[in-house]
């Protein structure tokens, strides 16, 4: 049970990467096993996970519940220490939370209720010393404007809807211009219509600034729509099952079937039918 390749037969997706694009990854996760203790068990959440995120990636971690994807993201965030393996951001090992990895959470209570929208977006800028005073305010307003919330800049979070709160959280993350933006199922608590709108908005924001984002979700359609690269994890414990490319359209180019169907097959059938034919 120690040889990773024996457990995870790599299935060739058939897409060839052009040679010569050997940029160094911004985030390098290698052999990460995460375990946590309950009162009577040691539970392995993820087992020997490897993946690399490159600049301007929209990297999605997708898997059913119990695959340890949120735990993995928390490890990248610096909240959880891996029992084995290493996480490196720009070559530096991650050992604690920090504003170079801004996190957008699923919960609506992630905004500080005692600060207005503008103050919320400004707060990490000023408290980390990245920008101060007028400059911080301008930066905050720039990103609040990007998520179309300028007219609510002086409102307190409790007066906003769930979707608006998540947009503020995204603006707060982006305003810091972090090395990587971590998003932990940020749209999972939203209603279907708002979720779709938010996905479109996130893609529009990405088109404007090409930030690097690591996005965790359990929804296949969301992964296909948001991601440029999708990491599939198996449950109990989470292991890498596949890494796929997506252009966001869900139309199969070579396989005559939808990407989402392919993901579904990989995740939910243990025996994956070979799809090597071109």
């Amino acid at each position: 049970m120690t040889d990773k390749s024996a457990m995870n037969p790599i299935i060739d997706s058939g897409i060839t990467i052009p040679a010569g694009e050997k940029a160094s990854p911004i985030l390098d996760v290698s052999g990460v096993t995460i375990q946590y203790k309950t009162t009577s068990f040691i539970v392995t959440a993820t087992y020997r996970i490897d993946f690399q995120v490159y600049t301007a990636d929209r990297f999605v971690i997708l898997g059913p519940s119990g695959c340890g994807k949120s735990t993995l993201l928390k490890a990248v965030g610096g909240y959880v220490r891996p029992t084995e393996g290493e996480l490196r951001l720009k070559g530096r090992a991650i050992d604690r939370p920090g504003p170079d990895r801004m996190m957008v959470f699923q919960e609506f209570d992630q905004l500080l209720p005692w600060k207005t929208v503008k103050q919320n977006v400004m707060f990490p800028l000023t408290s980390s010393g990245k920008l101060l005073g007028k400059a911080a305010e301008e930066q905050a307003m720039h990103y609040i404007d990007k998520v179309n919330l300028s007219q609510f800049a002086d409102s307190y979070p409790h007066t906003l809807s769930g979707g608006m709160k998540q947009r503020v959280a995204i603006a707060r993350g982006m305003a810091m211009e972090p090395d990587i933006l971590l998003m932990d199922e940020p749209f999972a608590s939203l209603d279907a219509l708002t979720r779709q709108k938010m996905q479109e908005e996130l893609l529009r924001l990405w088109d404007e600034t090409h930030f690097t984002v690591l996005f965790v979700t359990h929804s296949i359609p969301e992964a296909v729509r948001i991601g440029s690269r999708i990491l599939l994890l198996s449950p109990h414990p989470g292991q890498v099952k596949a890494e796929l490319n997506s252009d966001g359209t869900d139309w199969a180019i070579r396989e005559a079937r939808m990407l989402s169907e392919r993901i579904h097959d990989i995740l939910f059938t243990d025996v994956v039918e070979e799809s090597d034919h071109d």
Partner: protein, 291 residues
């Protein structure tokens, strides 16, 4: 009732233009009575007037000014002692001691809970101390305090600190513990730690509990002070409100005793409505932590 043969009728589809301009909001002003009833202060004043009238009517029917003077007699004694300045002087003495003890209690509570939120042994210490001392009435410590600090304000401040400290520390600690994990992660995501983390995340997030603790602490401090002055009031040379009540009881000036109690109530109401309610309004209500 279902009918297997039933079919819903075919209906034409339609798409409407939504009117956006001419649709005015129909407004109807509230009546004067409703407007007045919506003001909390007016509702409370009305309640106070009713309570005062009940007092007046009962005292008149009892007709025993030594046992239970009327509301009007109490007000009369109250105003005359305000006029002579005696009452105001006593109030001033009490308030001075009270604020000293209260402020010192708050500072110590902040130290204890700050320590408790940073280290586990600090948490254990605070939890042990609060469970030991919170149930202990401050007044029970007064004889000891008199031995330690002598007959003076020192003893009073000591028992006041004891009455404020544990109530505030316990509430603040509970508040810190119930700060949501998401907010904690947000705080550490920003790179905050130690004192800045406490000041910028924990204290505002736990403010509803802290405010409750401050209110309880304030009430405890008042009770303790009045009780201490009633028993040992003369000790500090010139007594405060409690001593005023005690003195007048000895002289059988019962309306003045009532006036003293009345003053305690008035100060309590004033602090609650002028200070704590405004603090609530401009903090936790504005932040949506309390409706």
């Amino acid at each position: 009732m279902t009918n297997i043969n039933a079919t819903a009728p075919q209906r034409p589809e339609f798409v409407r233009q939504i009117i956006t301009k001419t649709l005015g909001v129909v407004e109807k002003p509230l009546s004067l009575w409703e407007k007045l009833y919506n003001i909390g202060a007016i509702r409370k004043v009305v309640l106070l007037i009713i309570l005062a009238s009940v007092w007046e009517i009962y005292a008149r029917s009892l007709d025993d000014p030594l046992l239970f003077p009327t509301f009007s007699a109490t007000i009369e004694a109250f105003l005359s002692d305000i006029g002579t300045g005696v009452l105001l002087h006593r109030v001033w003495l009490s308030i001075q001691i009270l604020t000293q003890g209260y402020a010192a209690g708050l500072v110590l509570a902040a130290l204890f809970t700050g320590l408790a939120s940073m280290t586990r042994i600090g948490t254990d210490l605070l939890e042990t101390l609060t469970s030991m001392f919170n149930p202990l009435p401050s007044i029970a410590l007064l004889p000891l305090a008199l031995i330690w600090f002598g007959l003076g304000n020192g003893s009073l401040v000591f028992v006041l600190i004891h009455s404020v400290l544990w109530a505030v520390a316990l509430n603040t600690h509970t508040g810190f513990q119930s700060v949501s994990p998401t907010l904690r992660m947000v705080g550490s995501n920003y790179g905050l730690s130690g004192l800045t983390y406490i000041a910028k995340i924990l204290i505002p997030a736990a403010f509803p509990n802290i405010l409750t603790g401050m209110k309880i602490g304030w009430a405890f401090a008042w009770r303790t002070l009045i009780a201490a002055e009633l028993v040992f009031g003369a000790s500090s040379g010139s007594g405060g409100l409690g001593w005023y009540i005690y003195e007048n009881k000895n002289d059988l000036e019962i309306p003045n005793v009532f006036a003293g109690l009345f003053t305690v109530i008035i100060i309590g109401l004033a602090v609650e409505h002028l200070i704590f309610q405004n603090l609530t309004k401009y903090t936790i209500q504005r932040w949506g932590m309390q409706s």
